[in-house]
Symmetry: C2
Subunit: 427 residues, 2 copies
């Protein structure tokens, strides 16, 4: 079949496909301004400069007595130093209290220290005598206080454009009084299963089957920061395909079709969509296997990514084009971003087919003492076995036809759930 | 301060604390039956056995003509083999068609092959002549067909108890006609900030400050499979603390307080809660720094985890006790589950303090060719700088007082967002 296929497809490399999409499309990371509370997982579109010093004032690290450290120099159990309590700072409110030689003020954790004080003695290390306290040992300047700006200085750049917003980022932003920030918008991705046989009904009716591939891709889009929209499956009908795809692009940045992109008479996605007058062809086939039928056009500047319907081809197209594009659209690096683990191949792996392509193989990682071993889970592109029994994948470069047992390979983990699957599994 | 502190706290190891919680509490992974569509990220509480063979029947891999491979043995371009088209299978509906010698039937991708056929010729590799087709080369038995059960066999165990449900698992379950599965319930975790100064109002009013630590912990609970409930902050008042904690445990499996667990006069969480008659003390302090004030009781069999309020102590308590407990409650491994990366220390790191404890330090990973270097981001436990400028943490075992520049350390990534932060960052 290869000779015939080679005539129909014009395979281009993954890098070329991505570059062409980015170059010819109107896609670029778009910037929005959102509430910090809703910003988890977004990518910063601006450097964040702290508007305030943290702490804002020199503050007490514990509940205790603010002192001049010089007053405590000679304190000991035998000769405690006695200081007069001249005030009490019970809250983190602004105040103008200060102390002089021989004086102290009670301060609660996080509250602004009184003027003149440069150290704090925790309350449980003092003894109270009426209006005074006794201190039994010297404290050093700065002890148990945090100086203004010691954590973050006003004007300091603390997060940068391209940083993913994490839980601690949100805490910082809120603490710094920042309520809205500029981030890259999450790309909106329509996902459409194509095929006469597909239905969204779970009950098997009249020879139709439940469309489940878009369900799977939906979750990955979500995981990598996109907003997926599932569209009802469309039958193998040129006009319906065109109408549904065009419709989906009104509300979405990218349209992903699944199925109908190979060479049979019912493979209508490429043939109908690439012939529209407004269509700009990007790729009719990619140099990746499985997934080589993945084809891409632009419609009115927006990418339509046609993934093949066999499940391993679908996921390979998603790994190699859709997810990198999703990351690009959020201002992130779109190459080599999956977390990876080095592992030793457990068995020889022969990969003679499509040796001028990048090959994707799913592998199961096993722990072997402190190291990992990887075993390929094989099966033709329509089989789900390799996906459900694996917990990672390897990319085999062009020309490699065999990976020897004992070689070290980089195993990519596809999602946080793969990470959880691997690291917290009870086995 | 250490001597004094040692008297108040009775530090126990992290392992001991976890074992005691599990042993004395009524917590155990609880099993629920849920809809497959809502099961992403849950952990299987049962082995999953496929109720059907996949594919259910021997099916066509492409649109094409079903043939007896023996009929095609002598086919060539010069002498094509002509076969009579005796039928057409247009859908994946059940049928009883079959072919005899010299016959063929048109079959669409995924449809059941007719009886008698053992191979398929893709339609684009045939020529049609009226009621017949011509085939130009031999096909082998099994070519372009997938035999019944070749992917998954009926009765095969394909996922096991303890496996995290991933997108591909859901596709498989739906394809196999499984609509509900047994999983471990996600633990419900109440999170309560404690302190007179705390408010949920964003506008700074009257010396109160926005409570942001529970916001941060909320996201981590979510990430590790728990269902977080945020409770309004409670002031430093014994009765209110008791009431709010008890109330929260009616609807939740675990209560987490943040703040008020050290030794000052306003540190009322431990002092009030541990003295309730129904309270079973588990730990008054843990052998981990930061986070050593973390204290734990059981109230009516449910854990109350009191995290210290200084942010690095809060997160350390979450990393070392809360998240492991969350995983345990979902039937997962609760030790060494964070994804980790080996890196070379970039600078000497002195860690003399609390050398009989496990020490947590936050580090920034830098890529250095194919390797990673790690640099500690230091700051006292109240500082957020180490958290926001790092992208991982290291655990320093007891007795180690120095990590030399150039040593290899294991750097743990705290969440999928840390993974994204590290791997897809534009820098």
């Amino acid at each position: 079949m290869n000779e015939y296929v080679e005539k129909q497809f014009k395979y281009i490399s993954l890098d070329e496909a991505l570059e062409k999409i980015i170059h010819y499309s109107r896609l670029s990371p778009s910037v929005i301004n959102i509430d910090v509370y809703r910003s988890l997982g977004y990518v910063l579109a601006e450097d964040v400069v702290s508007p305030i010093s943290i702490p804002r004032d020199t503050v007490a690290h514990f509940d205790g007595y603010a002192v001049r450290s010089s007053d405590t120099l000679k304190a000991s159990t035998v000769n405690p130093v006695r200081l007069k309590v001249v005030g009490r700072i019970d809250s983190i409110k602004e105040h103008n209290l200060s102390i002089r030689e021989g004086e102290t003020v009670y301060v609660v954790t996080g509250a602004k220290m009184p003027g003149g004080a440069d150290a704090l003695v925790p309350v449980e290390r003092t003894r109270r005598y009426g209006e005074s306290i006794e201190i039994l040992e010297p404290v050093k300047r700065g002890e148990h206080v945090t100086f203004r700006g010691a954590d973050i200085e006003a004007g300091e750049s603390v997060q940068r454009r391209g940083d993913v917003i994490r839980p601690q980022t949100i805490k910082f932003l809120l603490d710094a009084g920042i309520s809205r920030i500029k981030v890259y918008a999450k790309p909106r991705i329509a996902i459409i299963g194509v095929g006469d046989e597909l239905t969204i009904r779970r009950e098997e009716v009249d020879g139709k089957k439940l469309e489940t591939s878009s369900t799977m891709i939906h979750y990955y889009v979500n995981e990598f920061g996109g907003i997926p929209t599932r569209v009802n499956p469309v039958p193998d009908n040129p006009n319906q395909i065109i109408q549904v795809v065009k419709n989906s692009l009104r509300q979405n940045d990218v349209c992903v079709t699944i199925g109908g992109v190979s060479l049979g008479p019912r493979d209508l996605c490429w043939t109908t969509l690439s012939k529209l007058p407004e269509s700009i062809p990007i790729a009719r086939g990619l140099r990746v296997q499985p997934g080589r039928a993945t084809s891409i056009i632009l419609l009115n500047g927006k990418p339509v990514i046609m993934l093949p319907g066999h499940i391993q081809s679908t996921i390979s197209g998603a790994i190699n084009i859709l997810i990198p594009l999703l990351l690009y659209m959020q201002g992130l690096q779109s190459r080599d971003f999956f977390p990876k683990i080095s592992a030793e191949m457990d068995e020889d792996l022969i990969v003679k087919e499509y040796s001028s392509f990048t090959r994707i193989r799913f592998v199961k990682l096993f722990k072997d003492g402190d190291r990992y071993r990887a075993r390929a889970i094989l099966g033709d592109s329509s089989m789900i076995r390799p996906l459900i029994l694996s917990n990672g994948f390897i990319k085999i470069p062009e020309k490699v036809e065999k990976i020897n047992r004992g070689s070290i390979v980089e195993v990519y983990l596809l999602s946080w759930l793969d990470v959880m699957h691997l690291f917290s599994n009870i086995r």
